[in-house]
């Protein structure tokens, strides 16, 4: 009997030890699984980071979004970049980043490692320049006593011979007249189709009377093609009288067909 009881007790202890060992093993495996096992949330973090930027997206969808290669395409800003790193390092997400709440990327957009690798984007620089240019222009206008000029000089102004690279602002009245004069001459200019694809250009100076009548034409820069230059002169003469110019004087016309075959 005693021996039976002793054997039962031994069996119980053995069973207990086995269960204990199994339990310990299971716990150990569980700890190991959490420590080194696959972490789907690590990848989920990247889209979550992006979602911080996408204001319109509902917050709840961020957690439900499946793990896809999409986040990689979106060029996510690496979470918690280390400013001390000399080179841009591929994003190394850390366990701490698992919590989306800690990701507050929009606050530090300049701390992106890529920014250190590449020069500052051009638009920002250009914007600064244009700002300073506008300021400079405003100062000049102020000095000249001119009223503020909102409209920028039009395309024709680029062809004007303005000194020192600063385009002279064209009065609105002149700009309107130039557009009308251009229309008159364009309508009168007949050019054979074969010349439209050639790199021909001619400049003529036209003396206009107060009523817009053409008083004289001088080809100051010929195209090298006499038939082209003749067509230019013909156009000016046929367009006469042009609309009354703001100033009865010599005006320059540049003829440059822009067609390609």
């Amino acid at each position: 009997m005693q021996s039976y009881l002793a054997s039962v007790e031994q069996d119980r202890r053995r069973q207990f030890r086995r269960i204990l060992a199994l339990s310990a093993l299971a716990h150990g495996l569980l700890v190991l699984f959490y420590a080194v096992g696959p972490r789907p949330h690590r990848q989920l973090l990247l889209p979550a980071v992006v979602q911080v930027d996408l204001v319109a997206a509902p917050a709840t969808r961020a957690h439900r979004r499946p793990v896809t290669p999409k986040p990689v395409r979106v060029k996510p800003v690496p979470p918690k970049p280390k400013p001390a790193l000399p080179k841009p390092v591929p994003p190394k997400p850390k366990p701490a980043l698992v919590k989306p709440a800690k990701v507050v990327l929009p606050e530090k957009p300049t701390a992106v490692p890529k920014a250190t690798a590449k020069p500052a984007p051009e638009p920002a620089h250009a914007a600064d320049e244009s700002e300073s240019y506008e300021e400079m222009l405003a100062k000049l206008r102020k000095e000249e006593g001119e009223p503020a000029h909102e409209a920028a000089p039009n395309a024709e102004a680029k062809t004007s011979a303005a000194p020192a690279g600063i385009p002279t602002p064209i009065p609105a009245q002149t700009r309107v007249w130039m557009a009308r004069a251009k229309m008159y001459v364009t309508r009168a200019w007949i050019l054979q189709p074969g010349f439209r694809t050639l790199p021909l250009e001619a400049e003529v100076q036209v003396r206009l009377g107060p009523s817009g009548k053409v008083l004289g034409i001088e080809v100051t820069r010929g195209s090298g093609n006499p038939w082209f230059d003749e067509s230019v002169e013909r156009a000016i003469r046929k367009a006469s009288p042009l609309p009354a110019p703001p100033e009865a004087d010599v005006w320059t016309f540049v003829f440059r067909p822009g067609d390609l075959l």
């Binding site: 004007s160 002279t168 002149t174 364009t186 007949i190 074969g194 003749e230 016309f253 440059r256």
Partner: protein, 441 residues
């Protein structure tokens, strides 16, 4: 003291000129970059003539109008709009007319002329005044001919007027050779560039193909099966009825499928069969100095000379599909030109050297495209749901003739490079292989 007197007006003049210059320089230039799509408006006064020459004057006038229309560059001012006389004054008389009467009706140019018929000779004089530039004299000529030449006189006049306005003579007075089966067999025909004055060049009841003009326009080289029922080249000289077989020194060296004369007219680029493969050769007209240019196991056909005679464009399937290539006239420096499309054939080099027209297969039919000789620019020219094939350039490089099946049967059409206006020239039978001749003497 003298120096001071002389210097004073010089100084004043310099100051005046600088003032004018600076005033123009201070103003912005007005850029004109888009010409209008209008045609030159020309007023044609009726030719002054004796009562005996009225019929001739009317025929020349009609032909002149047709020639100007063909150019696509002119629009005639209707006589009803004239403020001046409809009849031209004698050209020997003093001008004494009011230019404003012609400029007020929107005319760019005014044509005046007179016709005289003496015995069997017709004499025509004309002049064109540049109305837009103060009725300045633009062009004037005299023609002499037989009463049969009235149509040609009118067209030559139209071509001269086109040349005066554009710097490049018109092509109304040129000819187009082509192949037609309208007589029951495939024969060579020739017509004027506007489709009129059709006549047969061959009548041998055999198969005739690929006509090509000699550079002087006095002969046509073509392929015919009339000799031993095998393809060979023949030369038909203007004014003779029996064509001569050429390249006799190449007898017994395989059939010759096609020949194209170089711009000098002395050499011919040939397509000859070598071991069953078509290869390109050059030779003199008698077959001497034969030189093989292509040497491979593919088919090389359709040679076309550059206007300077230094290069040849051709078609080869060496890469698996027919494509256009270009090489030096000695066969060196072969370079592929076309890369778009799987079937590009029929190259034709423009007389001004700027373009090579070719046909490209799209959805089982052909369109015409242009590629520049360096292969940098490749642009469509004629696209239609039916086939457009076998382009050939007019001598002014402003128009092309081609064969098209857009109306069912194959016909010859011409197209202007600028206005892209298509005109049909033939209306009977199947008509193919148009070849535009050079300027006539």
């Amino acid at each position: 003291m003298k120096a001071g007197r002389a210097g004073c007006p010089t100084l004043l003049l310099a100051m005046l000129l600088s003032a004018v210059g600076s005033s123009a320089a201070d103003k912005p230039a007005i850029l004109i970059d888009q010409p209008s799509d209008k045609a030159f408006r020309i007023a044609l006064q009726r030719f002054a003539s004796d009562p005996s020459a009225e019929r001739a004057a009317g025929e020349i006038h009609q032909s002149l109008v047709a020639g100007l229309d063909f150019s696509g560059l002119f629009q005639r001012v209707p006589e009803a709009a004239f403020l001046g006389p409809v009849q031209s004054p004698s050209l020997d008389a003093a001008p004494g007319f009011n230019c404003a009467r012609w400029s007020q009706i929107g005319s760019d140019a005014l044509l005046q002329g007179e016709v005289h018929v003496e015995a069997q000779e017709v004499r025509v004089k004309f002049r064109v005044l540049d109305v837009a530039r103060g009725c300045r004299f633009l062009v004037g000529k005299r023609y002499r001919g037989k009463p049969d030449d009235l149509r040609r006189m009118g067209k030559a006049m139209a071509d001269d007027i086109v040349g005066a306005f554009t710097g490049q003579r018109g092509v109304a007075d040129t000819e187009i050779a082509f192949v037609s089966d309208r007589s029951g067999s495939r024969e060579i025909f020739v017509m004027d560039a506007d489709g009129e004055n059709l006549r047969a060049a061959t009548h041998n009841h055999s198969i005739n193909a690929f006509p090509d003009w000699a550079p002087d326009g006095e002969a046509i080289v073509y392929t015919s099966y009339r000799y031993r029922n095998r393809p060979w080249l023949f030369l038909l000289t203007r004014g003779t009825r029996s064509p001569g077989r050429i390249l006799r020194r190449l007898d017994g060296k395989g059939p010759i499928y096609r020949g194209v004369l170089d711009p000098s007219g002395h050499r011919i680029a040939l397509v000859r069969s070598v071991s069953g493969q078509a290869e390109i050769f050059t030779a003199r007209r008698d077959g001497s100095h034969s030189k093989r240019l292509t040497r491979n196991w593919s088919i090389d056909v359709s040679p076309t000379w550059s206007p300077d005679g230094r290069r040849i464009a051709f078609v080869s399937d060496r890469t698996g599909s027919p494509q256009v290539y270009v090489m030096h006239a000695d066969g060196s420096a072969v370079r592929r030109l076309t890369f778009d499309g799987s079937y590009n054939t029929g190259p034709a080099w423009s007389p001004d050297g700027r373009w090579i027209a070719y046909e490209t297969r799209v959805n089982a039919q052909f369109d015409l495209w242009l590629v520049d000789p360096e292969g940098r620019t490749n642009v469509p020219l004629v696209t239609h749901r039916r086939s457009d094939e076998q382009p050939s350039w007019a001598p002014d490089s402003r128009m092309l003739a081609f064969s098209s099946s857009r109306r069912g049967s194959k016909d010859i059409y011409v197209i202007g490079l600028g206005d892209r206006k298509v005109r049909r020239l033939t209306h009977e039978g199947d008509n193919t292989a148009p070849t535009w001749g050079p300027y006539r003497r």
